[in-house]
């Protein structure tokens, strides 16, 4: 079973976002970058499938600036075997252009499963997995919380508006990972050392001209300062009064 996992480098979720000088990107100074948390679920799932089947190869694909390689090595330390870095110094902000570049690179790869995170926690579009699958003309199921593979088919569970769904798909197919799929492992020191020696190919990303432009980036409007109504249950009547008459929230 060959599995490709697409991972994106994003600011750590703890980051307090600071808008950079041009006003259309964040200021990267002091920001720690991580594998987008949903992509980490995808990497973990790939490793679990490989461990269960006892064979297969896991390839990591990441499009991003030079230090995308740092998070690729993190995926290697978790258990991935090799990978390709599509270098993009421009930090593309158009998901379609990124999806097209990823799809172009994937056309030359052999895989049964193609895994994504449900969303990269930077631009939060939640689209690239479905876009790439369509560009490659393979089926896709998004936001899965369970994945079983057998006999050239995958059976997955996902949350939907109706409740939970069980979907069966012919392979090769693409999936996007939702929280709940698994708990990603922490790599051991020895695995981090081994990860440094695993093969990593670098290629320029084939990006088309973006079809959208980010005109500006803003901070969210500040919330007006709140108030402490009081201490303990004695202050409950005052709170209910405020909720009813001031906030009109009840």
């Amino acid at each position: 079973m060959n599995i490709v996992v697409c991972v994106k480098r994003v600011p750590d979720t703890e980051t307090k976002i600071k808008i950079g000088g041009e006003g259309t990107k964040i200021d990267p100074a002091g920001v720690e970058f991580i594998i987008s948390p949903f992509d980490e679920f995808a990497v973990e799932e790939a490793i679990r499938i490989k461990e269960k089947l006892g064979k297969g190869e896991i390839t990591i694909l990441s499009l991003g600036p030079a230090d995308a390689q740092t998070i690729m090595r993190k995926a290697y330390a978790m258990g991935a075997d090799k990978g390709t870095h599509l270098n993009d110094a421009t930090e593309c902000q158009d998901t379609l252009a990124e999806a097209q570049a990823l799809a172009a690179a994937l056309k030359g790869m052999q895989f049964d499963l193609l895994l994504f995170g449900k969303q990269a926690v930077d631009y939060d579009n939640g689209a690239v997995g479905v876009q790439v699958a369509r560009l490659l003309n393979i089926p896709v199921v998004s936001r899965i919380i369970k994945l079983d593979v057998a006999d050239g088919k995958a059976t997955v569970e996902r949350e939907s508006d109706m409740g939970k769904e069980v979907v069966e798909v012919k392979l090769p197919a693409a999936f996007t990972a939702e929280k709940g799929l698994n708990e990603p492992r922490y790599p051991k020191l020895m695995d981090i050392m081994k990860a440094k020696k695993k093969p990593l190919e670098e290629k320029p990303a084939q990006l088309e001209a973006p079809k959208l432009t980010i005109v500006k980036m803003d901070y969210p409007p500040a919330r007006p300062p709140g108030k402490i109504v009081g201490q303990g249950e004695e202050s409950v009547p005052a709170l209910v009064n405020l909720l009813k008459n001031e906030a009109k929230a009840l």
Binding site: V121, K211, K227, G232, E233, A249
Partner: protein, 327 residues
Amino acid sequence: MGNNVLIFAEQMGGKFRSVAYEAICQGKKMAQGLGGKAIAVAIGGGVEAVAKDLGQYGADKVIVVDNAKLKDFTVDAYGKAFSEVVSKNDPAVVLLAATFQGKDLGGYASAALGAPLSSDCTEWASQDGGIQVKRPIYAGKAYVTVKFNSQPAVISLRPKVFLPDAPDASKSAEVEKIDLALSDDDFRSVVKEIITKTAGKIDVTEADIIVSGGRGLKGPEGFVVLEELAGLLGAAVGASRTVVDEGWRSHSDQIGQTGKVVSPKLYIACGISGAIQHLAGMRTSKCIVAINKDPEAPIFSTADYGIVGDLFKVVPALTAEIKKTIG
């Protein structure tokens, strides 16, 4: 170049969802600015009967793809049907709700048509003969304003941000039924089973009020006090990630950067410290109440109203007081 707006009218079990009306009302306004028409697209098995009602919300026309094979949503089959309708109509804008279905379909249509995509938009404006949008990024820690350089633009709207106008019963839309050839390739993914959610359980993304609990609840049994308050208010019960990771509540209840992003009328955070990843999921709530025993808890700086105290005393008192004042 077209100037129409094509709107996906999302349905569930043969009934349109409120997000469909939200999208159609905004789509109509966009179409007015562009000098075009608002065309709704209804896809499913057995949707034809209700299609013309979409006119009451502003659709000038409804295109119906009604096919028994499309009873259950899969992105592969719905995406194929939707993209074909889009490409035949050459719209300026393709509009969807940023729901599970809408996000999937938006991605599919964007790739199928080579069209730029912006998900989860919270504002839009007519600009230079086109549409410009504003959307949250980094889980709402910042916003971007996006301009499209190519037509159509695929835009999904965050649910519950744009409220639909009241329906106008005097209006009805022209309905066009079309047949599309669907091949086996469009059904490589098949829904085998739908496990419907517990009756009466309200999803956090749909609730007007959320009562949410964190590690301060001490264990799954602690949530009984929140369930009582939620039951009284017709609210959903949300949870912090810690609680979900401990297995006290289900993943679908998690609020935050790796959970659901919600903006209810009222969010009551109980025993939640207010970590940046949690705030990202609920900071756009209209009114936030925090109940926490630690006066230094960061949640208090985001809350409109706070009570410092033991939630096991404060929450039952709150339930009792609300029962007394609003019955």
